[in-house]
Amino acid sequence: MLDLLKRYQTALLFCLLLLCALLLYSNSLRQREHTSLFEKAVLQLASPFYRTIDAVSRDSAALWNNYIDLIDVRQQNIALQEQLRQQKAHLNHLKEIEQENQRLKNLLGFLESTELPAIPARVIAVDASSWFRTITIDKGTNDGLDEGLPVVVAEGIVGRTIKCASRTSRVLLIIDASSEVAVLVQRNRTRGIARGQGAQLTLEYALRSHDVLEGDAVVTSGTGGVFPKGLPVGTISKIVRHDYGLFQTLELTPSVDFDRLEDVLVLPGETP
């Protein structure tokens, strides 16, 4: 028996290691939104490196943009001043609408919705592989973050937190293939599920009978249990209606540019 074990020692050790790897993966599948001690330790260990690299690269980019790469700055300045004049006029118009909105709300007896608390965070790293779409931010459990919190920017939703260490957290972006968000088309309230496709999104389970147009805005429906209602998700860029079936498939262009994410907001008050 011992001879047999010695002869196949390497093969047996390989099989044992493979079994351990399979069991670990299988166990993790059941508790995805749980950050293990090992994960917390590695995230914590990587955090100072990330912060240093992030600071150095930001400084280098600032040096390049502010002092070296100044071609066309004068033309840009003129164009921006013109744009600023137009925006000022637009802002005045919006202030009028805001006041009108306030008056109407008071008239209808609506309660003023309190502003959602938000924790600003900086993106310090992206996913280590090319296949998944996650980012690492510089805030963690010490700042009040937890797994499953929505992450947004001014343009729309970004994703949700999946792993939290004390000073860093990882965020699953909505464009990841394993991400799903309950959404609706703003114009005609068609409901569906937005699923990530790497760079784009698809809107699935939208009823075929509903008329949806290219360019329609899509917002969160608030029914998924993670994101609050009404946050921008994207706009419809392509409509695929088959000859049969209950649903139509819609392609969405996300409202957020995920290649240029730098600062985000985490909404801690929106835990499911």
Binding site: T10, L22, I53, A125, S178
Partner: protein
């Protein structure tokens, strides 16, 4: 044991590069998979069990900073290592072209294993489409990575036993 720690530290540096520096120049899409190249190198040059353990730990490190499920890359890199050990030992390991050959087959095997694991165990839906779409560019990046990284990896190679040197002389 010393080489195992060196390889793990090297893996950590590679992961930091993959998460910070590469995305700044190459965006969120395909970028050189240095950890895969390290695993292939271990499969060709390292002792089977020590290499397997290192590959699994490298995968687990990668899992902390990639994807959603801990253990996925641990499993995949271990399987890639096993395949490299079985296939790579038949080849002349001192030939520099072996690493390029391993990178081509290893990238393809890695992607097939990733797609299969995601389809069998997780709800990845059309995640396999992303993997397949990026495969050609990923292959080019990995071949370039072999060219850049192999000289550094060769410095961590175990010295040849004296007895072997005497017989060859």
């Amino acid at each position: 044991m010393k080489r195992m720690i060196i390889h793990l530290l090297l893996g950590l540096v590679f992961i930091l590069l993959q998460t910070t520096l590469f995305p700044r120049f190459l965006g969120n899409g395909p970028r050189p998979d240095l950890v895969l190249i390290l695993t292939l190198y271990l499969g060709i040059h390292e002792q089977p069990f020590q290499g397997a353990l290192t590959s699994w730990l490298l995968g687990c490190l990668l899992d902390v900073l990639s994807g959603t499920t801990f253990g996925l890359y641990g499993l995949i890199l271990l399987l890639v290592f096993c395949a490299t050990v079985i296939g790579g030992r038949q080849l002349n390991r001192d030939n520099a072209a072996v690493m390029f050959f391993a990178a081509i087959l290893g990238t393809a095997a890695h992607d097939v294993l990733l797609v299969t694991t995601l389809l069998f165990f997780a709800d990845a839906d059309q995640g396999w489409l992303i993997v397949l779409r990026q495969l050609p560019l990923q292959l080019i990046f990995n071949l370039l990575a072999v060219l850049a990284v192999t000289p550094f990896l060769n410095r961590t190679k175990a010295p040849k036993p004296l007895s072997l040197l005497r017989t060859t002389r």
